[in-house]
Structures are given as structure tokens and as C-alpha cells.
């Protein structure tokens, strides 16, 4: 095939312009990925001599480390609860704000503030509120109620982290779902109303299907984010009491940077990567069935 000079010239120029980005991608994304895969095959202290152990780290992870299954269970529990509570609450609030009129933007900003506030600051404030003699228990004490140990009771600690996380993350989904609601044609809702559909029928039969692309996006992003939960347990509970709030990323961080087990931490990272990939692939496989792209 004959190539035009202009096309070839543009191709080379494009390659030159793309080179810095590709170089950065190779150095900061691909290389660390490959490196972590290689490191996961070693017993690799940060200082000292690495020792090749093959798949031992993975074998230990799956068969010899009960903490891994605990942190995996905790992470899955967190992901499910956080995603469900976040999406249901975000959808309810977004719908409320959509119908609120001129006060809508004000409350939207209010709900979005925790998203842009540093997670560390939020976590520290929540820690102060949730301690045994914190604001919440002091309030309960004024009502004559003995408040529980929100962060030290293994039955309540994870719930406290989920509540804090929903408060922190709900604003993002409110904005996305709000934009989705704005995109629904009023004509459709009006037509449904003329056909005799009540408010709930209009919501479930018109609004939800039309909102499904936004909901799908929010679900995928929220689940991926929830699997990476780290700051909340790190600052509020240190993974305790026991291992009740220990998550995969916290366990990974500890193994890599506190316990000097870089090989095992890398194996954990790959386990997390595979789990998130599988769940995301499952979601995308259901996309055509669950998401309505017909405008």
C-alpha cells in the first residue's frame, strides 16, 4: 500500500508527542507492575538479600495465613455494605436535591464538602467523635444512655468505619446521579404521568432505567474504591480490635512497610488486583442486561 508522506509525517510526529506520556506510563505503571509480580516470587526484605521462593508467598497466602481470609472477608463485607448504603443514600439525596428547587445547589455543595476534605482530617474528627468519651457518647450520656465503645467493640467497629466512609464518599455519587437525573427528559415523566403512573411507578419504571448508566458507573467506581479502603481503619482502629477492621490494603501496607516483607506484600497486591478485576469483569458482563442506554 502506498503511504502518503503527510500521513507518515503525522504518525511520526504523533509518536514524538506521545513519547513522554508513554515513557511515564512505562516507567510509573508498567514497570512497577512487572516489578511487583517479580518481587512476589521472592522473600524480599527491603534491606538484606532477596531469596527466590517461587509461588510460596501465594501458597502461604491461600493456605497458611488465616489473617488473609479474615481481611478478605472484612474487605468484602465493607465493600458490600459501603456500596449499598452509599448508592441507596446517594440516590435518595440526589432525587431529593433534584426536586428541591433553588436550595438544591446549596445542599449539593454541603454534601460534597467531605469529598474534597482530606480523608485524614475527616478520620481524625470522626475518631474524636467516636471515642468512648467522645461527642456522640457525651450526647447519649445527656439522654441517660450509656454509649457503647464504637471503635473498640468488635461488633461495632466495622459499622463505625462504614458510617464514616459513607458520609465521606456520598457527595461524589450525589453529583454523578444528580447529573444523570438532570439528563432525563421531563417529557418522559410527563408522558408517564398522563398514562396514570404514580410517583413510585415513575421512579421505578422511568427514572431508574434512565439513570442506569450513571448508577452502573457509580457502582463500578464505588466497589473499586471500597476494596482499596485503608485510611479509615489505619487512623480509627489500626485494624482492631483483633482483626475485626483489618482490610487487605492495610494488611498489605503493614507487611510491606512495617514488617519488611515486600514479597508477601506484593503477593497480596496481586491477589487484590485479581479480585477487583474479576468483580469488575463480572459487572461489565452484566452491563447489557442491567443498563439501559436507550435514550
Amino acid at each position: 500500500m502506498k503511504r502518503t508522506p503527510a500521513r507518515g509525517g503525522h504518525g511520526r510526529l504523533a509518536a514524538v508527542y506521545l513519547a513522554p506520556g508513554m515513557l511515564g506510563f512505562l516507567i510509573f505503571i508498567v514497570l512497577p507492575l512487572v516489578a511487583s509480580l517479580v518481587i512476589s516470587l521472592f522473600d524480599w526484605p527491603l534491606f538484606g538479600t532477596p531469596k527466590f521462593v517461587g509461588l510460596d508467598n501465594y501458597v502461604r497466602l491461600l493456605t497458611g495465613d488465616p489473617v488473609f481470609w479474615t481481611v478478605l472477608g472484612n474487605t468484602l463485607f465493607f465493600a458490600v455494605c459501603y456500596t449499598v448504603f452509599n448508592l441507596v443514600a446517594a440516590l435518595a439525596v440526589a432525587t431529593w436535591l433534584h426536586n428541591l428547587g433553588s436550595w438544591g445547589p446549596f445542599f449539593r455543595v454541603l454534601f460534597f464538602i467531605p469529598v474534597v476534605t482530606p480523608m485524614v482530617a475527616n478520620a481524625l474528627v470522626w475518631r474524636l467523635m467516636l471515642t468512648d468519651d467522645g461527642v456522640i457518647n457525651s450526647f447519649l450520656a445527656n439522654l441517660g444512655i450509656q454509649g457503647p465503645s464504637w471503635l473498640s467493640d468488635s461488633h461495632l467497629a466495622m459499622g463505625s468505619l462504614i458510617a464514616m466512609s459513607v458520609w465521606q464518599g456520598i457527595g461524589y455519587n450525589i453529583i454523578v446521579l444528580g447529573a444523570g437525573l438532570n439528563g432525563i427528559s421531563p417529557n418522559l415523566l410527563e408522558a408517564a404521568r398522563l398514562d396514570g403512573a404514580g410517583a413510585w411507578q415513575r421512579f421505578f419504571r422511568v427514572v431508574l432505567p434512565m439513570l442506569s448508566p450513571s448508577l452502573f458507573f457509580c457502582t463500578v467506581m464505588t466497589i473499586i474504591g471500597s476494596f482499596k479502603v485503608f485510611t479509615q481503619p489505619y487512623l480509627l482502629t489500626l485494624g482492631g480490635p483483633g482483626d475485626s477492621t483489618n482490610t487487605i490494603v492495610l494488611y498489605l501496607y503493614r507487611n510491606g512497610f512495617s514488617f519488611d516483607k515486600l514479597g508477601y506484600a506484593s503477593a497480596l497486591a496481586w491477589a487484590l488486583f485479581v479480585i477487583v478485576m474479576l468483580i469488575t469483569a463480572l459487572q461489565f458482563s452484566q452491563q447489557k442486561r442491567l443498563v439501559n442506554y436507550d435514550n
Binding site: 509525517g9 511520526r12 510526529l13 514524538v16 508527542y17 513519547a19 513522554p20 515513557l23 516507567i27 526484605p45 527491603l46 534491606f47 538484606g48 489473617v67 475518631r127 471515642t131 468512648d132 465503645s149 471503635l151 473498640s152 468488635s154 487512623l235 480509627l236 482502629t237 489500626l238 485494624g239 482492631g240 480490635p241 483483633g242 482483626d243 483489618n246 503493614r254 512497610f257 512495617s258 514488617f259 519488611d260
Partner: protein, 417 residues
């Protein structure tokens, strides 16, 4: 192809390459580091949790300057809690400081980061015997010395004299039994005041100092020995004080040592087990007069758990001799004594203890001196950070009575092997 187009492409490629190279070199270089090792030899990586820490390190510099006005030491580092994690990554990066702080309790853990000092000690004719023997023992790894200690601090029991007087409790001294201790704590726990303030950590007590007082240690022959019956019993005693006797609030895993210290200083707790490094803070900021006693033991004769810190040389240092000479300038008896007098750290050199004693009450000085004589270093293993981290995470279940000391210490020992 025209010359202009060639030139244009070359310029574009050169600009892109320069940009990439500039970005990479900017990322790779450290701020202001020199390549010869000279600057790094007078730089120290240490914990700087707050202004109090910074003032302490500055006190070393100021005292050393009296003998050598040209002496200087640049400082960098995170908080104490973050230090043990971050020091490993900091020293693996370029331009890392040559001098680092270590502890007898962490010498094993940091052994790959530090170099043996024996040859430099010998060639500089340093008399190591002047330093506290327990600290030197603790800083010796595989037969080699890994740091020059500046303090030797036996953990003590602080008590609020006013609260003890109000409860009719006799002040403890250099002899104190655990049965007296438990009884006193019960008597002190009333009217919103708890007998004891407790942190969630292992080394920060109260379980481990109580075990040391009874002669039980967490490491035997270089290996973790967390499940020896003496240590388990002492840790269970500490758990029971909180879970069964209710003489202290159960700590939360995320509590730093500052949380129980605040309880003590505000008068909400009558006693606390802590290091002498807190002496100035606790005696000046507590509501009420403060005294110190030995950590109680079954017999009343207490063995001190000696914690202390030292200056070491990073294995990555290019000019180790220069770094060692700087360390020697801040570890002379004069400097250590001056810092002890100014900042309250108990000197690692016996002849300088008088500087630290200064105007302190004789009873308090007697307690520290007694513990220094009987004291044993807290020697640990390379996996000690894992022990500490896991204990802090798990101890809540012990302090709330849902797990026994035997269960928790077995779990921790198995995971940290």
C-alpha cells in the same frame, strides 16, 4: 524533506527529551544533597514528633558547640511512631543522612541499616565502658556494637501525690509489690478518677514493664519468647486490672501514648507507667504533685526495664569516619550531662547522672538510680515492629476480657516468627 522540517522535528524531539530527562532527574534527586558524603555525615535522620523533640536534638547541638563552635547537625525525620517504618525507606533513597537514631530495643530490627562501630571505637580510643552496660548490651548485635547511647532510661511508675493523699494511699518508693499496687489502684478508683492510665502498646506497658520487674523478658537466646509463663501471667495481670478490676479505662488501638498521659496530667488517672523521658512534662503539667516509684513486682524488688536511644551510622553512609566523629561530639559525658540537665533525659554515662539529678527530689533520683543498677535492656528481635503493631491492634480484646494473654501472645508470636 526540507531542512526546516528536519530542524523542527529535531527541536521537538530534543525538547521532549529534555523535558523527560528534566522530570526524571528532578524526581530522582534529593533536595540539596551533595554527592561526596560530606553533608550527609553531619545530617541526622531521627524522630521529630513535636517541638519538644526538636528542642532535645538542638540541645545536643548547642552543648557540642560549646567545645566546637563550628559543629552543626542538620535534622530531618517523622514522628516517633512513624520513624520505625520510614527510616528503612529513607535510608534506601539517595542523599540519605549518615547518622540515625536507634534504640537498644530496635537494634536487632535495624541491624541491616547500621554498621558495626567497633573498629571506629578502637581507632578513636573511645572508652565504651563509661556508658551504661545495659544499653551497650542492648545495642550489641551479633557481637558488634551498633550505636553510641545517649540515654539509659528505666521505666518508672508515676503517681499523683495529691490523689494518693486524698484516697489515703501510702506513696510507693523503691520497693512496691503487685498486691499493694492492685489494692492501691482499687482505693484510688473513685469519684471519676481511675487508678491507672493505660496505653494499648506492648513496650509502653503496663504488661511488659511489670514482666521485667519480675525478671521475665520477651526474648530468649535471640528468639521471641512471648509465651513464657512468667510473661503471660504478668500480661494477664495487666489485662485483669482493666477488664476485671476496672481500675483503668480500656485503651483503644488508635490511642497514642499521649492519650493516657493526658488522663494522668488532667488528674483523671492517679498512676501511669512511663519512661523517665516524660519526667519534666509529667511533673510540670500534671494537676497535682507528682512522684515516681519503681514498677511493682511480686516480691517488691524491681528489675528496671531499661529503654534508651543511641546514635548509629547508616550502612549507606559514604564517609563513616566523619559521621562517627560527629557522633562522638554529641555523646561526650559533658554533652550528655548538659542535655540531661536541660531536657531531662537520663544520661547513659554514670558520671553525668548528677547533672540530670540537678534539683530533682532525692526520692525520685533514688528510684532511677536503683533501677539503673538492677536494670536490664529491652532486647528484641528483627520482627519486633510486627510484635508491637500486632499487640497494639489486638490488646483491646485483652483489656476488655474477651481474649486471654496466652491467646493473644501466642497469636502474635506465631505471626511474627
Amino acid at each position: 524533506m526540507s531542512i526546516n522540517r528536519v530542524t523542527g522535528r529535531l527541536l521537538t524531539a530534543a525538547a521532549v527529551a529534555a523535558l523527560a530527562a528534566g522530570t526524571l532527574s528532578a524526581c530522582g534527586s534529593s533536595t540539596g544533597s551533595s554527592s561526596g558524603g560530606g553533608k550527609e555525615a553531619s545530617s541526622m535522620y531521627t524522630w521529630i514528633t513535636n517541638e519538644n523533640d526538636r528542642a532535645q536534638w538542638q540541645a545536643f547541638v548547642d552543648a557540642a558547640k560549646k567545645k566546637d563552635p563550628a559543629f552543626n547537625l542538620t535534622l530531618e525525620g517523622p514522628s516517633f511512631n512513624d520513624y520505625w517504618t520510614k527510616v528503612k525507606t529513607r535510608l534506601s533513597s539517595s542523599g540519605a543522612p549518615c547518622i540515625i537514631t536507634t534504640q537498644a530495643a530496635r537494634a536487632q530490627e535495624l541491624k541491616d541499616l547500621t554498621v558495626p562501630l567497633d573498629d571506629m571505637v578502637k581507632s578513636n580510643s573511645i572508652d565504651v565502658s563509661m556508658y551504661n552496660k545495659a544499653m551497650i548490651d542492648g545495642l550489641t548485635v551479633d557481637g558488634t556494637l551498633r550505636g553510641i547511647p545517649y540515654d539509659a532510661e528505666p521505666v518508672v511508675l508515676y503517681y499523683n501525690k495529691d490523689l494518693l493523699a486524698a484516697a489515703g494511699v501510702k506513696e510507693p518508693t523503691t520497693k512496691y509489690t503487685t498486691s499493694q499496687f492492685a489494692g492501691d489502684l482499687k482505693a484510688l478508683t473513685k469519684d471519676g478518677v481511675m487508678g491507672l492510665a493505660v496505653p494499648p502498646g506492648f513496650g509502653s506497658g503496663p504488661g511488659l514493664p511489670l514482666a521485667f520487674a519480675n525478671g521475665n523478658e520477651p526474648v530468649k537466646d535471640g528468639k521471641l519468647d512471648l509465651t513464657n509463663q512468667g510473661l503471660v501471667n504478668d500480661q494477664q495481670f495487666a489485662f485483669d486490672l482493666v477488664a476485671k478490676e476496672k481500675v483503668a479505662n480500656a485503651p483503644q488501638a488508635s490511642d497514642g501514648t499521649d492519650v493516657p498521659e493526658q488522663q494522668f496530667m488532667s488528674g483523671k488517672a492517679a498512676m501511669i507507667i512511663d519512661g523517665p523521658w516524660m519526667y519534666d512534662t509529667l511533673t510540670t503539667k500534671t494537676q497535682g504533685k507528682v512522684g515516681i516509684a519503681v514498677v511493682p513486682s511480686t516480691s517488691g524488688e524491681s528489675i528496671g526495664m531499661i529503654q534508651g536511644s543511641a546514635f548509629a551510622i547508616a550502612a549507606s553512609c559514604k564517609d563513616k569516619d566523619a559521621a562517627f566523629k560527629n557522633i562522638m561530639k554529641i555523646t561526650t559525658p559533658e554533652v550528655i550531662g548538659a542535655v540531661g540537665a536541660a531536657r531531662g533525659t537520663v544520661p547513659s554515662v554514670e558520671s553525668a547522672v548528677k547533672d540530670w539529678a540537678g534539683t530533682k527530689p532525692a526520692a525520685d533520683v533514688a528510684v532511677v538510680q536503683a533501677l539503673l543498677k538492677s536494670g536490664r535492656p529491652l532486647v528484641t528481635t528483627p520482627s519486633w515492629n510486627q510484635v508491637e503493631t500486632n499487640f497494639t491492634q489486638y490488646s483491646g480484646e485483652g483489656f476488655r476480657g474477651s481474649k486471654t494473654a496466652q491467646e493473644l501472645l501466642s497469636t502474635i508470636m506465631n505471626s511474627a516468627k
